[in-house]
Symmetry: C2
DNA sequence: CTGAAAGCGCTAACAG
DNA sequence: CTGTTAGCGCTTTCAG
């Protein structure tokens, strides 16, 4: 490796090490003359500072750790992108670890993140994380933000999506379009997130004065195309099928649409659909109306929480709520 | 930050700094007794080594840089995942920079990667990269591997997909299913990749003795749903529409299917479709037959090239070809 | 098998 | 405005 050091640059430019440091970092007074000399040498030699040395000395890095779980759902990828963008706007870079939901060793990953001395850690959806692991991070005063599925942890912040409101709005939207027999397909509410969406569905129904019909609620084990398809079969093959169905993931919608297609049922003519995530809905036939999360905001807020936690350390746990927006497309029929 | 150092551990365990280093790194002779003492202290205190210090001293990191371009196409995300997996199997971690196709500053990103002193750099699709930027990386003897869209560069390695063969096989598959009027929808072949796929299509046609019909070839500006839909309109609204269409991206297939859906044309009854990428095809209605790239292999080979380049430095440029596999689903009708 | 010693390249006081 | 100095936490000879 042919890496020059600051000392080399200093010698070449005829100045001291410190002066080079000042222009590299862009802070501290340096006369225009010397600054230009140094910049010229840096330009000519292609000198690039050594982050390891900077980090060692300053005890800071420009790295943000991100622990996420492998998932066919494009949602997590979008979160990751959003985080990346927000981080790089502030001069940070995200080191992402994607663990396998079943076999991934969370503890090892967190240790690696600590080893890198990241400026903060974001955890997106964290099944299988123990309080002990989190404690280790928090004990070292590394700012921690959790997204989507969160765990209570003293001293960490959380970002949640306004799932209940999002789901309620979706159902209300269907109601206002004249639908009264509205089905629900979602993951079994063993986690808060799913419970909120189901609750939103029920609130939406209640808001329209529609009595609940449990036979219209299909709970799946996970968010997969296959399960969406099974749910579709269950709902479509009923004698009295719903006029509309709200699903808590675009992935489920994909499967549901396959079930429709097999039966030669058309959307929205034969049945109306609303999805959730807004990840795949625009690509489907027909393009599906879906509940979109404010992705840009999500990353921004996560980084913001990380940065401000560093200042007022030991503060209370904070929680920020991300809004949702219903994106209208062509999958809902107006029944008037 | 409450980080202990190796010196702390040494003191606590009653051994020397060096001995702690040996057990942390797991190499060098240490008596069972002392090793256990050290391990106990590390376990109790939750000590985690400082990568910056390790890297500074050893002049090595466990980081692999990845430069990729922001793209709605899930293909790049899959490549990224594959790379991550392969890297972590060898104890490396991937630092990914996703730049905006138009505005992203490649030079700055590469500098940042150099600053991190990454063990190697992988570049996936690299429009807008100058030879100068690449030269800077290569000049510092950092192993470099390019994927998908590659640039010639002395001392760097490349991974290409067997696009021509993949496309040819797809067309041949349609031929064997009885199709003779086969359309093509793909991105304008201003890059090698697209040119190879188009050439594969032509070879497939030639193999079946089918004369080329340029009116059946639709070239788009980019891989988007919208362009796929436009292409669909163009091909479907012809008096003599093709019995099958091969498309060079699943994203295009999505749009094409929307055009079909609007016209109430059914796949594969009215028209047969084969996609490329195998990223979205399984989620569509109907599930679409698509050309899949051997993703697992891709990451493995990339990391392998990086690692071996470190040894036989200054070697020739190497190129490895990734095979494709046609995944059969329900979008092709047999015409007999 | 173990320890002492010498830095890696850089930052951050502190004097000039 | 500029330079000198002292390490950051770890790896790596080199002697015991």
């Amino acid at each position: 490796m042919n890496h020059l050091t600051m000392t080399d640059i200093a010698r070449l430019a005829g100045v001291s090490l410190t002066t080079v440091g000042r222009v590299v970092r862009g802070k501290g007074y340096v006369s225009r003359e010397k600054r230009e000399a140094v910049e010229r040498v840096i330009g000519e030699t292609g000198y690039v500072p050594n982050r390891a040395a900077q980090g060692l000395k300053s005890n800071r890095t420009n790295l943000i750790g991100h622990l996420t779980v492998l998932n066919p759902n494009m949602l997590y990828e979008q979160i990751s992108r959003s985080l990346n963008r927000a981080a790089s706007e502030r001069g940070y870079q995200v080191l992402t670890y994607t663990v396998d939901r079943e076999t991934g060793d969370r503890g090892k990953v967190l240790d690696e993140l600590i080893a890198q001395r990241v400026a903060g850690i974001v955890i997106t959806s964290c099944p299988g994380l123990s309080g002990e692991m989190l404690g280790k991070v928090l004990g070292k005063h590394i700012p921690l933000v959790m997204i989507e599925r969160t765990i209570e942890a003293e001293g960490s912040d959380r970002i949640a999506v306004a799932d209940l409101e999002g789901a309620r709005e979706a159902v209300d939207y269907l109601f206002r379009r004249g639908h009264r027999k509205i089905g629900f397909v979602g993951k079994n509410p063993d986690q808060e997130v799913e419970a909120r969406r189901l609750a939103g569905y029920r609130e939406g129904l209640a808001g329209g004065g529609i009595p609940e019909d449990e036979s219209l609620v299909v709970l799946t084990r996970s968010y997969t195309v296959e399960e969406g398809r099974e749910a579709g079969k269950a709902l479509l093959d009923r004698a009295d099928r719903p006029s509309a169905v709200f699903m808590t993931s675009d992935l489920l919608v994909c499967g549901f649409l396959q079930a429709c297609y097999e039966r030669n049922l058309r959307v929205p003519d034969d049945i109306s659909l609303v999805g959730y995530d807004n990840t795949l809905s625009m690509m489907l036939s027909p393009p599906v109306t879906s509940v979109s999360l404010e992705m840009g905001e999500l990353g921004e807020r996560a980084v913001e929480l990380l940065m401000t936690r560093g200042e007022n350390r030991e503060g209370e746990s904070r929680e920020v709520l991300i809004r949702t927006v219903l994106i209208e497309r062509d999958s809902v029929k107006t029944l008037f």
